[in-house]
């Protein structure tokens, strides 16, 4: 029964770690100071074009946020290490020190803001949904789909997951896990759900290549338009201020617009939202 001793050791080690608390020096050091001292910036990202994406394990990371971070890192004189994460785990990765900050793209939502600190909004993206092309569903109000016979697919941890839990309490929620943003849309194609929710950019790309589904809302309408922001730990105030200033500089100097011009899919940046 040697495995029993090993299990006991692990439990005791975890208990000891939880009782000992963090090292004071680690807590006192802001992530920005750590980045400058080690000359390495560990940046988390969720694979999502056009903001940031990678086509394979060995392929280079690219996208608008990739260009922005590289510009910031080069001005700071540090190297960037990219760490892929997902919507459910990015807060954990931040709070455990696996990454210094996360560029997402992550929506700024109230529950998330309780766990991490967000920068100023960088871009705005709406949410939409797909239904089978044969579906007679027409969404006039959200109450039209809040029925027990409607199956709604969302991605666990994504903004529409929170939306569905609050606004679609009567519908059957299919909350899929993992990092694949198209999973709720695939669920509709496979007949697993009547509606699949996701951000509009992903929905539009999916609808364009899947004739068996159509957009839930015609004419480019969206359910919620939410801001994207980069996330830092709540303790890292200096890194947070530094990133805010960097984002303002890159936006005002036209660098963000320049990066976006290279991408086929367009985002709405703060300057264009009020237009």
């Amino acid at each position: 029964m040697k495995w029993w001793r090993l299990a006991l050791f692990i439990v005791l080690a975890v208990a000891a770690a939880s009782c000992s608390g963090p090292a004071a020096s680690d807590n006192a050091q802001d992530a920005l100071d750590r980045i400058r001292a080690k000359h390495v910036m560990r940046v988390g990202y969720v694979d999502w074009a056009p903001c940031i994406s990678r086509e394979g394990h060995d392929a280079p990371v690219k996208g608008i946020f990739f260009d922005m971070v590289n510009e910031i890192a080069s001005r700071l004189g540090v190297r960037v290490v990219w760490v892929e994460t997902n919507l459910a785990n990015f807060a954990t990765d931040l709070n455990t020190g696996k990454i210094d900050f996360n560029v997402g793209p992550t929506y700024i939502t109230i529950p998330r803001a309780a766990a991490v600190t967000f920068t100023i909004p960088i871009s705005y993206v709406g949410n939409s949904g797909v239904v089978p092309v044969t579906s007679a569903l027409n969404l006039r109000s959200i109450e039209d789909i809040n029925h027990s016979n409607i199956r709604v697919a969302v991605l666990q941890g994504q903004a529409m997951d929170e939306f569905a839990k609050v606004k679609l309490s009567d519908a059957q929620l299919l909350r899929l896990a993992g990092g694949d943003l198209t999973a709720p849309l695939v669920a509709v194609s496979a007949g697993r759900a009547d509606i699949g929710f996701m951000n509009t950019v992903t929905v539009d790309a999916y609808v364009a290549s899947h004739p068996e589904v159509r957009r839930l809302l015609p004419g480019g309408k969206e359910i919620e338009v939410l801001p994207h922001g980069w996330a830092t730990r709540t303790q890292d105030a200096r890194l947070h201020d530094f990133l805010n200033a960097s984002i303002e500089y890159l936006t005002a100097s036209g660098r963000v617009a320049e990066y976006q011009s290279r991408e086929p899919l367009k985002l709405r940046f703060p300057a264009t939202v009020s237009e």
Binding site: W3, W4, A7, I10, V11, V14, A17, S18, G21, P22, A23, D26, N27, A88, N89, A91, T92, N95, T96, G97, P111, A114, A115, Q156, G157, L173, L174, R175, L176, A177, G178, V186, A187, S189, A190, G191, R192, Q235
Partner: protein
Amino acid sequence: MNYVWNFSAVVPYFPSLLRGLVYSLELNTISVGAGLVFSMVIFAARTSKSAVARWIATAFIEVFRGLPVLAAMVWLFYVLPTAFGGLPGPAGVACIALGANYAALQAENIRSGAEAIPGEQIATARSLGVGRFTELTRIVLPQAFLRSLPAALNQAVNSFKLTSLASFLSVHELFFTSSDVIQASLRPLEVYTLMAALYLGAVALGMILVKLVQWRLLSRFGLAWPG
């Protein structure tokens, strides 16, 4: 490490985690139960005189023994309704994938057990005119099943660990529930630690039961098992 531990923040969510654990256990009980019955059918087909039955059984074993359980789950989840309409919900698909994987492995365990049966027994039965079906159900399967039991029980414990994969299909088992609790409590490491402790506790209990059953069967039937 600069994480500040706070287990008291996740205490209110402990009942939710326990419900997730119970659901994982239910999922495993159904999968293993169905898999156990099906493994005997597969074994019977594998040793059948019919070439078609043998071919189907072999194909089943090779597919579900070789395919990662997560790949089988996701494939069945998306492809089954596309090909056949409605069919099982997420939990049903998880049970099918886990049960099929278990059946494929256990059918091989039973085959190993059958090979250990002395050839004289079969020869004697045939010389006395015992039919093929009676030979299988009264002589071969009972002994082969008993001999394969230790491996079957260990495999059942492994199958319990694989239930966490059902979280990908929106099945509210322990892993999925833990992700939900993390979102609600914002205490990831505490929840992951509790989740690991619950899995470990359940597996430890399972292993004790395995040892008890092995000891009981050993004393009852006097069979010598490896390990």
